[in-house]
């Protein structure tokens, strides 16, 4: 079985490009060119150079000794939190801004929930001198003020999404509408492995640097490239897709995908799409999504804004349905506890999204000899207010 995208843009039954005709020329232009452009030596050179000199790659693969002792296994952390702007998101925005330039686009739009992808997009736009417009739900603007300020300092225009529930889902709708209204000069930098084909595949390829590095770094650590487990949290699924990519076809490497259970799977306040979702169409792709019986998309909930998305990328829907990945869901409380634990055992303050991935060790037992690589997708600076409120610091 293949876990990668096929030539029609599907992962099994998921994926495709369910877009209005108004978007067809743009998405088609991208589809016809993205692999060609990514294969150009000059593109590769510029991408690699920026990842090295600007982002700070390779990001370390760190053996978490005290965490490993506590859970009686071998835990390695892939330190995406040490990237410039503080998360894996920048791997994708660097790739896409170079893509946009080669496609001759001079206006960049993006959606953002917590603001991480918005900041990563504003950053690369400043770097390249391109106009940047970021759509963000009105409610998220209010609860993520520092990231809004960062985007503004970087020269981006932050436009509040006032429709629907005024969060990430609606910000994405607004970005898509902007693209419909500006079909010629604009590139839409989607922030996760979601959206119409070729976006999930393109974002996955840009993020695949994560697992490419894990392989040689693990070899340096322990003399073999393949861990027993790779673990990542899933909002739309971009850090997960990058972490899994080079292990997808090796079934000896177990894949664990961690979703946000919010207040609990059955609480009505959750974002555990693989459990609560059903096949349907969201933001241009067929995938698993949370919806009413009638096909109206419902609002998810998680304490972490980055996991607060009602769908999941089509690659992950396929990994879930086929059983290739084990899906776990972690509540707000367990994630917050795991976040604090990493601070105290390893001196690393993780993003709350990432803390969901770390929380699995309380729920799943690993063998003493197992090698478990966890994607430490981002740092927790952006979440300080949430940590402060939660722990009454």
């Amino acid at each position: 079985m293949s876990y990668n995208v096929n030539e029609k843009g599907y992962y099994g039954e998921f994926g495709g490009a369910y877009i209005p005709e108004m978007l067809y020329p743009n998405v088609e232009e991208l589809r016809q060119n993205y692999l060609k452009i990514m294969a150009e030596p000059s593109f590769k050179k510029e991408f690699d150079q920026l990842l090295k000199d600007y982002v700070g790659r390779p990001s370390p693969l760190y053996f978490a000794k005290r965490l490993s002792e506590k859970y009686k296994t071998n835990i390695y952390l892939k330190r995406e939190d040490l990237n410039h702007t503080g998360a894996h998101k920048i791997n994708n925005t660097i790739g896409q801004i170079l893509m946009a330039k080669r496609l001759g686009k001079n206006r960049i739009i993006a959606e953002t929930g917590a603001g991480q992808h918005g900041v990563a997009t504003a950053t690369v736009c400043a770097l390249m001198g391109l106009e940047c417009i970021v759509y963000m739900g009105e409610i998220d603007i209010a609860r993520q003020a520092p990231n809004v300020a960062r985007m503004k300092m970087l020269g981006a225009t932050v436009v509040p999404a006032l429709s629907g529930s005024k969060t990430l889902k609606d910000a994405t709708n607004e970005a898509i509408r902007d693209w419909i209204n500006n079909p010629v000069d604009t590139h839409y930098i989607i922030g996760s492995a979601i959206g119409p084909h070729p976006y999930p595949d393109m974002v996955t390829r840009f993020q695949s640097i994560i697992s490419e590095e894990i392989k040689w770094q693990l070899k340096e650590h322990i003399g073999k490239e393949n861990p027993d487990y790779v673990v990542a949290c899933i909002g739309g699924g971009s850090n997960a897709a990058g972490t899994y990519y080079h292990f997808l076809d090796n079934v000896n490497v177990n894949i664990i995908a961690v979703e946000a259970a919010g207040l609990g799977i059955d609480s009505g306040e959750s974002a555990a799409t693989s459990v609560l979702g059903k096949e349907g169409i969201i933001h241009g792709c067929k995938t698993l999504l949370m919806q009413t019986k009638d096909g109206q998309i419902t609002e998810p909930y998680s304490i972490s804004a980055g996991l607060d998305y009602p769908g999941v990328g089509p690659m992950h829907a396929h990994l879930s349905i086929t059983g290739r990945a084990e899906f776990m869901s972690i509540t707000d409380n367990d994630a917050m506890k795991a976040g604090l634990e990493l601070c105290q055992l390893e001196g690393i303050i993780p993003a709350i999204e990432t803390a969901h991935a770390l929380a699995i060790f309380e729920h799943k037992k690993f063998k003493k000899e197992d090698v478990v690589v966890v994607s430490l997708s981002g740092r927790g600076d952006k979440d300080l207010n949430t940590y402060i409120d939660y722990f009454k610091l």
Binding site: G16, A17, Y18, I19, P20, E21, M22, Y24, P25, S163, G164, K169, D170, N173, I176, R177, I180, N181, N182, P183, V184, K278, E279, G280, I281, I282, H283, G284, Q291, K293, D294, G295, Q296, I297, T298
Partner: protein, 253 residues
Amino acid sequence: MNRIQQKLQENKKLLSIYFTAGYPSLNDTTTIIQDLEKSGVDMIEIGLPFSDPLADGPTIQASSTQALKNGMTTEILFNQLKDIRKSVQLPLIIMGYFNPILQYGVEGFCKKCKELGIDGLIIPDLPVDVYNEQYKSIFENYGLINVFLITPQTSTERIKFIDSISNGFIYMVSSSSVTGSQSGFGDNQKHYFKRISDMDLTNPQIVGFGINNNATFNEATQYAKGAIIGSAFIKYITDNSIKDLSRFVKSIR
């Protein structure tokens, strides 16, 4: 022959009106349809509201949100339309996004449409190739006409392909925009209308998006078979009520 095809043969410019089912009130659907017919419109598009209408501007978004708040569902809409063919002769089209239709079941949805006397569907986010490969035969089995969109950016080759798989009319989106974002047509649009008109397609074209008064209706129908009004109509019933729809229709032509 399907009612849409019949209507397209009439020797006149057609006025089609879109409204969101369940707006302003849940049970306004049949009243609006009946009054629009009495007011002399030629075709009606019944909007099945969706939580995330990607191709729509603020006016239709807001009406969809309100319709859903009012409790509109696919099942309720079908119930409201149960006896519509006892009183209404006009071609009726359901316009909706693909996910609610997918959840209902595409075949079941089409079957129900036929039972109720619906003549066609417009599903903006059902791509041409997916329709062609997976759903065309189902639509045809139930005598439904599927209407495709073209825009100023659509290539000549693709327009010809769309023409070849259409069997009613082509929905010509007036500009590269979401619904309702236009005021008046410029030279670019007129040039585009003329370019398409000169292609001599098999299927007539009806222009939509940005038609909001007599002037834009006349400009659009100078080149096309008809025009569709959505946002401007929703705005009218929002600002006034659904009581005097003929006043709106008279202001258009």
